[in-house]
């Protein structure tokens, strides 16, 4: 019953899926102690950030049916909020609070504007406009270098408790505390999103996605719902950005605003399964880990293929992007409904 309230009555609806989700949850919970090394911790933290970012995008894409390329803009705003505040005000909790609040406010205004504009033009145009808009925003961020650090970005410090130099006990340092801060944030934000999509509001969004015209006809003001949805998803993305900045203690245009990040998000949504929210967890887990270790893997493969120069050239770690591209193509081929969709179709076992 507790669980059911937490999950908003939206169960994984597949036993395998439930097991995988639980495994990811546990793995993320114990990473700092179970897997040694800086790299593993960094990967796990990135997974946490991506879960929130991707889930927030799923609200927009999977549930409302809006294809926006400007989502990373809000992600960037969140990260810049923390970065700029921490640079200007010095490291401290108040900088985090002020930075996040300002970022949320800016995101709110921009999302409102975009949401209202989206109604004037057809969906596909809207996507292209957001694409251009996001590109312009990125350039703007690098041009306002006095403020944003330009292309070079900003490096800043965190409150002492969250810094690597802080040591609580022998094994627990500031990095680990910072990790658990992210972990808690990610869990809370994820459950909140799950609740939103399963609320009456969430259902209306689905209706709009399916047939906007009819949704309006039965009495739902599509403008309002669309706008609220894009604002909500923007706010969650902003928080994801803040999480990333807290973890990296760095932010720059390429880190949060680049189109590459947007692509990663799109890919993760699709791999995981659109319109499921759970897909964000699976997708992020799979993708971030794959991305982080892809080059290592390719190195092994190309060494193995060293006898065949052509194959070795293709498998070279330098060409890791090639394989990411292949991943894009294959995931559309083989996971049209994402991992979650696949698993649910396999065995509709109820974990009730």
């Amino acid at each position: 019953m507790m669980l059911s309230r937490l999950l908003s009555n939206d169960y994984p609806r597949s036993r395998v899926l439930a097991v995988i989700l639980l495994a990811i949850f546990l793995a993320l919970a114990v990473t700092p102690f179970a897997i040694p090394g800086v790299k593993a911790l960094n990967v796990a933290a990135k997974v946490l950030v991506f879960i929130v970012l991707v889930a927030s995008f799923d609200l927009l894409l999977g549930y409302t049916g809006i294809v926006s390329f400007a989502h990373t803009m809000f992600f960037g705003i969140g990260a810049y909020g923390i970065a700029i505040a921490s640079t200007r005000m010095g490291a401290g909790w108040s900088a985090l609070v002020v930075g996040t609040a300002c970022a949320l406010a800016l995101s709110f205004v921009l999302a409102l504007a975009i949401g209202l504009f989206s109604l004037r033009v057809r969906a596909i145009f809207f996507s292209m406009i957001t694409l251009a808009f996001a590109a312009a925003f990125q350039t703007l961020a690098s041009q306002l270098s006095d403020f944003t650090g330009g292309e070079d970005g900003l490096t800043f410090k965190m409150p002492a408790v969250l810094s690597p130099s802080f040591e609580l006990t022998e094994r627990i340092d500031g990095r680990i505390l910072c990790y658990y801060l992210l972990f808690v944030l990610a869990v809370v934000l994820f459950l909140a999103l799950l609740r939103i999509v399963n609320s009456p509001f969430g259902r209306v969004l689905q209706a709009i996605r399916e047939n906007e015209f009819r949704a309006e006809a039965i009495g739902y003001r599509v403008v309002v719902y669309r706008t609220v949805s894009s604002i909500l998803s923007a706010l969650f993305a902003t928080l994801a950005g803040a999480m990333l900045a807290i973890w990296l203690r760095y932010n720059g245009p390429d880190t949060t605003l680049s189109f590459e990040v947007m692509l990663d998000v799109l890919l993760v949504v699709v791999i995981g399964g659109m319109g499921t929210i759970y897909g964000a967890v699976i997708g992020s887990g799979l993708f971030v880990v794959a991305q982080s270790y892809l080059q290592d893997l390719l190195k092994l493969a190309s060494d193995a293929a060293s006898g065949l120069p052509w194959l070795a050239a293709l498998l070279s770690p330098d060409r890791w992007l090639l394989w990411l591209g292949v991943l894009f193509v294959l995931s559309v081929y083989y996971f049209p409904t994402g991992v979650v969709g696949r698993l649910r179709a396999l065995g509709p076992a109820k974990t009730n």
């Binding site: 399963n198 009456p200 509001f201 399916e210 009495g219 003001r221």
Partner: protein, 254 residues
């Protein structure tokens, strides 16, 4: 009890006047059939009333309230319900969810409720169940709408309108493409509504036997203009209907 009225309602598409200065009002408790040849402007007239199209001129009022500048959703909330001629549903949601969405739309604020869990709203579920019973579709409640045959989609179209519980019901050829075994379900529903005597019902229908049986009043549109209005027997007998619509005299003459 409110009265639906249109005053001088007109719409032009380029040079073509699809609905031309139609002034008419509809009393609660009556079923008015709207007939006319294909392209006469019947669906367009509905579109103007329910707000899918914006009138070039004229007003739509319900119980004295001017709705002319309201978007469709607000008109629906004000009490204008509408079923579509071409089926228009939420294809990748289940039958039950389709109806539940319509039921939810009648609730004042639930739509923007972000924080409660949908499946906890028992009241919505019960209403939706009752409606599905009434159109004999309870057994298909978990099917995806996209997989339903045409006839069932038509029934669901009507079920959504029922779920809205409006003051004015607008049916646009509700039984088109339904066979004689299925159509009675829909016609029964309309009869029941009519028996209620408090609802305003508008019905576009080409099947004259249905019109004869159900209608209290018939209005005839021709080239966008209202050309006849009155009790069924008189209107059907009028030469304009016989010729332009039923094509009778032309046939008989030949």
């Amino acid at each position: 009890m409110s009265l639906l009225a249109t005053e001088n309602l007109t719409i032009r598409f380029g040079g073509h006047v699809a609905v031309n200065g139609v002034t008419c009002s509809f009393e609660p408790g009556t079923l008015t059939a709207i007939v006319g040849p294909n392209g006469a402007g019947k669906t367009t007239y509905f579109n103007l009333i329910s707000g899918q199209l914006k009138a070039s001129a004229g007003r739509v009022t319900l119980g004295g309230r001017d709705l002319s500048n309201e978007p469709p959703s607000q008109r629906t909330r004000a009490g204008l319900g509408r079923a579509f001629q071409l089926t228009n549903l939420f294809p990748r949601l289940s039958v039950l969810e389709n109806v539940r969405l319509a039921v939810q739309a009648t609730q004042a604020r639930t739509g923007l409720n972000l924080w409660s869990v949908w499946s906890d709203h028992r009241d919505l579920l019960q209403r939706a169940d009752a409606i599905l019973q009434s159109v004999a579709m309870k057994d298909k409640e978990h099917e995806l709408v996209a997989n339903l045959p045409h006839g069932d989609q038509r029934k669901l179209e009507v079920a959504l309108l029922m779920a809205l519980e409006p003051q004015v019901y607008m049916f646009d050829e509700p039984t088109a493409g339904m066979n004689h075994a299925e159509a009675p379900v829909i016609l029964d529903l309309i009869r029941k509504l009519k028996a209620d005597r408090s609802k305003t019902i508008l019905l576009v229908e080409h099947k004259m036997d249905v019109v004869r049986e159900l209608a209290d009043r018939i209005i005839v549109l021709h080239n966008g203009t209202l050309v006849a209005d009155g009790d069924p027997a008189t209107v059907i007998a009028s030469p304009i209907v016989q010729e332009a619509y039923l094509g009778v005299s032309a046939k008989e003459g030949a």
